[in-house]
Symmetry: C2
Subunit: 354 residues, 2 copies
């Protein structure tokens, strides 16, 4: 494990460190995806899991948006559910149905049967993809690794699929607290192993996706989730590599997520960026938070929405431009490209005027 | 239109008015539903729309939870989408799929074709159900009428079904603001007509359900939604009948929803009740906010969760106990009944100790 430079050169890593930048860095969650014709061509030949298992293809897909859009960071092409396969869960990506787990967690017996993850061997293809990417990416475009956060992964493992209400996961959490604790400990241990392996392989930042955490009350977050997210975030942060802590629907949870850890806090559009920066302190780097639906509006509207986010960021260091959630299918590619140009251009103007 | 008594006698109406009560009133969103065996028996014979069109059956279903649970209010059995049928939308409740609209709104032409609602004739069966219920309900159990809020109805009308991201609705809102305005005006006018008709027929309170409003940023809520919700809420409030203004995922929106109107603000579990009461002011009556998933936990856990809500309500007048969203399918009936007893018993104790 190596420490990052004290003064990183790239816009993205400088913003993670709260350092001044020439223009606000921008990348997009799910920037490699079905909205891109070059991605769809690959997906005609390979399933999602087949892409991930072939490092050359996974690297190619990761590079597609870097080449097409001019973003300031690449994000590893993978899926948050990859680590649960070697842990013993039978995962299938059913066509049009999303992920499906055939042996979801019901009780302590299932938790006890979970295997300890050895990411370097069992997810060696992911590490190989990272290795390849570091050889191919330009120096000014850092590579972001990622993982799902303990709560979001636990929800998948218990529900066995997507869910509207997380009924099984939340009722196990409340009704079988020892089982929940054992599960969250095993997941956290696996995530530390997985993220450290990604960093060793060359990831220059990592993002922890707690996409479903907004389903919880603050009190439940603090009791049942924060200790495990904290363990993962704090352990990984010791490497010196920046960690982005992201969730959606988190207006009630922001301070608790910040307390759990993360070099950067990822925000969705439900909380105004200026409110969030005031609440978290202006020295807390943040990432976000354009509504992904804004990319379906005509350019003059989109431009106004992008500028609004930049204005709310206050022209202060420590802002990484992103959406508040992943790019949606059917998003017009030209609008994604337009955002990159707009963010670079307008943020540079804003900086001069501050 | 008649004004309510200056000093209502029932717990529910007293709490709506912020008056002291002997015990906190409690009712549940979707308290008549599939989790009840007596409801399932009716649903074996009739579809949802068939029940609604038969006032005797709709009244019977409305009364089921009052008899089985001892709740402090009845809520009319109906569906928020009823008014859009006479407005010209072809609505189907597809088995296991939820509502489906075969001619969703795409542009101004579709909005112009919407018909003006005459609730008294076109939804006369709803008014007849209310009339029957007022004859059957005991005096201490008021009847709540309801409607979907303009934003949530507009989303359904544009999306044509449920949605994860409200992409079509939100992009129409941003890209075709005049079309959005025309649609929201037509919906608001229909809602005023519908709610006033319910009140004339005998509804003693009404709830406006903005179930999907949590998908919006505060700025978009203020620009595109608040004026229309406000028109409906303020017009209906002139009758003197209490209006409950409810939404989910509204932590960022609470003050704006309060500014729009509502005698009572309905809260979900994502915002702690004490935080919400501090933000809205202790003289603002509120309703909520147990997580519906809590009803799947064992009684000692459930009891602790119910008491937590009561403690956060602060033993102060102006709290109506409810869930933060509708009762989920498969909820154990005995747990719903237990909550009613617990709320009455514990809130009376808490009041004595304040």
């Amino acid at each position: 494990m190596t420490s990052t430079n004290p003064e990183p050169a790239s816009r993205f890593l400088r913003a993670c460190a709260g350092l001044p930048v020439d223009a606000t860095p921008v990348w997009f969650m799910r920037q490699a995806g079905r909205y891109m014709p070059e991605y769809r061509r690959i997906r005609e030949k390979f399933s999602l899991l087949e892409i991930v298992e072939r490092p050359e293809i996974a690297a190619e897909v990761t590079l597609q948006p870097v080449q097409a859009l001019g973003v300031d960071a690449a994000i590893l092409f993978a899926d948050i559910l990859l680590p649960i396969i070697p842990m013993g869960l039978k995962l299938e990506f059913a066509k049009g149905e999303g992920p499906l787990i055939h042996n979801p967690i019901h009780g302590i017996g299932d938790v006890n049967r979970l295997r300890r993850l050895d990411s370097r061997t069992e997810l060696g293809h992911v590490m190989e993809t990272i290795h390849l990417l570091r050889g191919e990416l330009p120096a000014e475009v850092p590579l972001i690794g990622f993982a799902g956060a303990p709560f979001t992964l636990a929800c998948y493992m218990i529900e066995g699929s997507g869910s509207r209400d997380y009924r099984h996961a939340k009722s196990l959490m409340l009704s079988q607290p020892k089982t929940w604790q054992a599960l969250m400990e095993k997941i956290s241990e696996a995530l530390v192993d997985y993220l450290l392996a990604q960093i060793d392989a060359g990831a220059q930042a990592v993002q922890l996706f707690d996409s479903w955490v907004g389903a919880l009350s603050p009190a439940d977050y603090v009791t049942y989730v924060q200790p495990y997210s904290s363990l993962v975030l704090q352990t990984v942060a010791k490497t010196g590599v920046p960690v982005i802590h992201f969730g959606t629907g988190t207006t009630s949870l922001l301070e608790h997520m910040q307390a759990a850890g993360g070099t950067v806090i990822g925000l969705d559009w439900r909380v105004p960026l200026d409110d969030a920066r005031r609440r978290l302190g202006w020295n807390q780097p943040v990432q976000g938070n354009l509504d992904p639906v804004d990319l379906f509006t005509p350019l003059p509207v989109l431009q106004q929405r992008v500028e609004d986010v930049l204005h709310r960021a206050g022209g202060q260091p420590g802002h990484i431009f992103n959406l508040g959630h992943g790019i949606l299918q059917h998003t017009p590619v030209e609008n994604v490209r337009a955002i990159v140009e707009l963010v670079h251009e307008k943020s540079a103007e804003l900086r001069e005027s501050v």
